[in-house]
């Protein structure tokens, strides 16, 4: 009797472990289902469509890698990708240049800190489309704010159309995106700053390190992960930029602000070439994954450091 009991014990344990695994699977099932339904299946569908001549209306048929061959010759897509890269670099730098000082400013408790945090963060809760609509009005030369205000104040002789030429239009978008996104990046960076133990800073002060040396040798290395997160979010978001260029500029002036996603949208829903749009999306996906891997590698934890 006892021997039987002893023999079945490990079996029962194994059974229990197996059951526990099943329960574990059950717990993650909703998450897995979401990923499968809203990511893996659409991704597979996109890959499948990219191998077809798939018009928005009418019959589709298999063409193998035809779409990808066409992409190689699609100079307007590569131009759009080049512009997207340029925009990503500029806007990411701009966001960090604004968000980092803001984070340092609101990190420590001081009078009205909560008010400042809320103020800086507010634009982040506005959707990109509504923010773009707001700014497209602000930037309007006849009925907006900036140009008419400057004119009425006597700063300029005649109203200046900010959206008519590339440089002012581009920098207007940068200003709008920084206004909108910097608050969010600030919160991420602030959390990183707050996680740095205060005694490290104090020890450095005792050792005679100045504020810049402390920033370089303590703050920056200890914020590696936070910076990686903020950087990846900013880069990925910028590479997928669409709303602001579509709503405010319509890709203008003269198609100089067509981003990669804008081009995909145009091919899919203006020219009705869904299959081609899917192939472009796959190319963009590869670019994005590669870039994210590079960033993770650059910001990896250095050897021997916890």
């Amino acid at each position: 009797m006892t021997t039987i009991a002893a023999a079945t014990a490990p079996l029962r344990a194994r059974k229990l472990a197996g059951r526990r695994q099943w329960i574990g699977l059950l717990y993650v099932a909703p998450a897995v289902a979401l990923v499968v339904v809203f990511f893996l299946i659409p991704l597979g569908m996109t890959a499948w469509m990219s191998l077809h001549n798939w018009p928005l209306m009418g019959e589709h048929f298999y063409i193998g890698l035809g779409n990808y061959v066409a992409i190689l010759r699609d100079t307007r897509f590569w131009n759009a990708l080049r512009f997207t890269a340029y925009y990503t670099v500029i806007v990411t730098i701009a966001i960090f240049v604004v968000a980092f000082p803001l984070a340092l400013f609101v990190e420590r408790p001081r009078p009205l800190t909560n008010l400042y945090r809320t103020m800086f963060f507010m634009p982040a809760v506005v959707g990109f489309a509504s923010a773009s609509l707001l700014w497209s009005w602000l930037l309007n030369v006849d009925s907006g704010l900036f140009s008419p205000a400057a004119y009425d104040l006597g700063l300029i002789d005649r109203k200046f159309n900010l959206l008519a030429t590339f440089q002012p239009a581009f920098w207007s978008i940068i200003a709008m995106v920084v206004w909108k996104v910097a608050g969010f990046t600030m919160i991420i960076l602030m959390a990183g700053l707050q996680s740095i133990p205060q005694d490290l800073q104090e020890a450095a002060v005792i050792d005679g390190a100045g504020p810049f040396a402390r920033f370089r040798a303590i703050t920056l290395p200890l914020m590696r992960r936070t910076l990686a997160l903020a950087l990846i979010l900013s880069v990925a978001g910028s590479i997928l930029a669409f709303d602001q260029f579509y709503i405010i500029l319509r890709g203008g002036p003269r198609n100089q602000t067509l981003t990669a996603v804008y081009w995909i949208f145009n091919q899919s829903f203006v020219s009705f070439k869904l299959g081609y749009g899917a192939a472009l999306s796959m190319v963009l996906l590869v670019v994005l994954v590669a870039l994210s891997l590079v960033q993770l590698w650059l910001l990896r934890k250095p050897e021997g450091l916890d």
């Binding site: 309007n140 009925s143 319509r250 203008g252 003269r254 020219s271």
Partner: protein
């Protein structure tokens, strides 16, 4: 309790039977924003007089094509659509539209329907679209401002030199008054109102069958110079350079623009929404004389496989009646039935007669890639007009557009 159940049951029976008697069906119809003045009126009139109902959705001009395409792919397309006639060939070619040849030919007035519409509504000898609304491009001028500027308020410009001179005089009034307005970043607006200037002078931008782009012409160059000179003299509001069409009508309706190329739709819209504006209507002139017009508007098309065909036909029948044609005309569309056009316009603003004449002699370019070439906000035509009106390198812009347009035409699927 039992009482309550009995009452509920009775209510259910009554409700059910009343629904049964009506058996009304509701068809869903889309129209682009250009039709937002007349379309709700005719739908209301139809709904009041019929048990079957029509539910109308108004879609922004630039969105309706992609939106319909996406809806059709997803199986949620409306039962019928008032579609810019330019697109009928490519939609029919895609197999998206119901073949309505037999029904169309059974209409007693079929032969007097607008020929520009029927031509674009026909694909491989089958009819997929019938005329619904018609719009011809014309030139409109503000009589009050003309009078203030010392011009004859009853005489609109009849050639390019007069356009420039009149615009300059009105502009000299100063303040926020400007001489001329056009939507400088809107391909659709300018194919409608700018190409007639070229046509009237003997040029064209596409060959007759749409197989060749013909941008390199002295007529196009001349029309560009007319617009450029007015921009240079500051006769045009700064906002024109970035207007993607949102102000195409609104700028003139605000009352501080001297002259603007526009469409017949403006007559109905101005009369009903801006009755204070005193304006004249004339033809879009050629360089020295003559005139031309873009015969545009919408074809009524039926989504393939709809179950509401009967309602849709009933609605179109109503729109073709004298009552329907009069409602359409009153609120901004020209009549599409030639045989009763005179009756429909009889009691209306005499300025419609000019637009009706423009429509009758107007032209309509034919191309299966019209959207990619002309209307797309990022297409070669839109890019070119913005560059040539406001940029520095006119010749380069024309050459570039010519090349891009030709390559789009050449790459189009041969259908």
């Amino acid at each position: 309790m039992r009482n309550l159940i009995a009452k509920l049951a009775l209510a259910a029976v009554v409700l059910g039977s009343s629904l049964g008697i009506a058996a009304a069906e509701t068809a869903n119809i889309w129209v682009r924003a250009d039709g937002s003045n007349f379309m709700p009126r005719i739908v209301d009139a139809y709904n009041k007089a019929h048990t079957n109902q029509v539910k109308l959705d108004i879609i922004p001009n630039a969105e309706i094509i992609p939106k319909y395409g996406a809806a059709a792919a997803g199986g949620t397309a409306p039962d019928a659509l008032s579609l810019d006639l330019i697109y009928t060939p490519s939609f029919a070619a895609a197999g998206q539209l119901e073949d309505i040849t037999d029904w169309a030919k059974s209409l007693p007035y079929f032969s007097s329907l607008s020929p520009a519409h029927v031509k674009t509504g026909t694909y491989k000898d089958h009819i997929y679209g019938l005329p619904f609304s018609a719009d011809a491009s014309v030139l409109i001028w503000n009589k009050k401002l003309f009078k203030q500027a010392g011009l004859d308020p009853e005489k609109g410009p009849a050639n390019w030199a007069e356009i420039a001179a009149d615009a300059e005089k009105v502009n000299a009034l100063g303040g926020n008054i400007k001489g001329f307005y056009f939507s400088g970043n809107c391909g659709g607006c300018n194919i409608f109102t700018f190409t007639p200037l070229i046509w009237a002078s003997g040029g064209d931008i596409l060959s007759e069958d749409g197989s060749k782009a013909t941008l390199d012409s002295p007529q196009l160059r001349g029309a560009i110079d007319l617009y450029r000179s007015m921009v240079k003299k500051d006769l045009v509001p700064a906002g024109a350079q970035t207007d993607t069409g949102a102000n195409f009508f609104a700028a003139f309706a605000a009352g501080n623009i001297g002259i603007s190329p526009s469409g017949a739709f403006a007559i109905g819209a101005l009369n009903t929404q801006y009755p204070d504006i005193d304006y004249g209507v004339t033809f879009l002139p050629g360089k020295d004389s003559g005139w031309s017009s873009f015969a545009g508007g919408d074809n009524f098309v039926v989504t393939k496989g709809t179950t509401k065909l009967a309602v849709v036909k009933e609605f179109l029948d109503f729109a073709y009646s004298l009552e329907g044609q009069t409602i359409l005309a009153k609120y901004g569309s020209l009549p599409v039935r030639g045989d009763i056009a005179k009756d429909a316009l009889k009691d209306l603003d005499p300025r419609y007669q000019i637009a009706a004449e423009a429509m009758a002699k107007g032209r309509t370019p034919y191309s299966v890639v019209f959207n990619d070439l002309i209307n797309s906000a990022n297409g070669p035509w839109t890019q070119m007009i913005n560059e040539v009106f406001f940029g520095d390198d006119v010749d380069g812009a024309i050459a570039n557009a010519q090349e891009t347009m030709q390559s789009i035409i050449d790459q189009a699927p041969q259908k």
